[in-house]
Symmetry: C2
Subunit: 214 residues, 2 copies
Amino acid sequence: MRYELYYWSAIQGRGEFVRLALEDAGANYVNREPVERKSAFAPPFLRAGALLIGQTANILHYLGPRLRLAPKAEPRRLWLHQQQLTIADWLVEVHDVHHPIASSLYYEDQRREAKRRAAIFREERLPKFMQYFEKNLQPKEPITYVDLSLFQMIEGLRYAFPKAISRLEGKYRKLLNLHNRVAERPRISAYLTSGRRVPFNRQGIFRHYPELDS
Amino acid sequence: MRYELYYWSAIQGRGEFVRLALEDAGANYVNREPVERKSAFAPPFLRAGALLIGQTANILHYLGPRLRLAPKAEPRRLWLHQQQLTIADWLVEVHDVHHPIASSLYYEDQRREAKRRAAIFREERLPKFMQYFEKNLQPKEPITYVDLSLFQMIEGLRYAFPKAISRLEGKYRKLLNLHNRVAERPRISAYLTSGRRVPFNRQGIFRHYPELDS
């Protein structure tokens, strides 16, 4: 199967969670710039044969067993999907730190609100999400697409909140070990140093504004 | 199968999307107050035999075919789930209108930010979501759990934003017809007038603050 991933080429954003899975599996895929599709509320969406699949977690739920990044049995698939949806919730909160009022406004026009939201994100929400995944990680199990997404969360948080994350990281050893284990996978390692990996930047979801990372 | 739904009994919240599906199907279920579970980031979660399933959309994805509120074929299940995840995104935005800074702060302590977010929600986001579902509705198809959730969105929006929604509603005839079609289903109609339906209130996700509905 040749997959077509519709997402903006200038940012990692939500598309990156799908790209990491496709890259790790050595899948045959191409990136396409998004086009209007009645059935897709927003990118990313994936063309897979006759299917056009939207919503990041839904795409990964579909791809998981096909890319050998999830088992086929329903209970385990539901559990992985549940965790991926929790990552999606976490990602919305990361985004809304710098855009608490509206995505359609510039950051500079909601900076004051962003600072308020950022303090609570760093102190309450970030530890809560990290602790949840730390408690539920099973380090001996084969790598899944959820693990690739957790790797991406750590990468993004290190870019956006280097100070906050450096204070927290040491408490979540299983999460850090998982991050390193993913980074060392041959296809991921090759991808990260290739031109295909878009650098983090201030157009994406993870953004570094020093004033939000006191 | 006897299901146990863990969610707070004092509010509709996210639990209500699951309750509507269980009620419409005449399923055997009980409501339980939430308890701490390592595997569940937040309520609702559903006990189904040996499974404990978290994340509202994931619960509905599981229940859909079992309650005859979704077909069994994968393409159609993915499509329904994609829409349910878009409803979940919409619901986060509804919540964040009254809590743009943090869920852990009182509304009164983020009222100014809420007013800013509310204006953009009413003018940009609400029409965007309504138009998306209006365009994708297939009025002749059997009712699914997604339709029950869209009914709940309309109900909640009418409670929280009566002025904004009354200005918009007429433009989305398919959505309104669907709402009425769901309301007339015998088990839903019986449920809505029963003591089991918790009234909307200011502890839930849909909240009526007149200043946010100018």
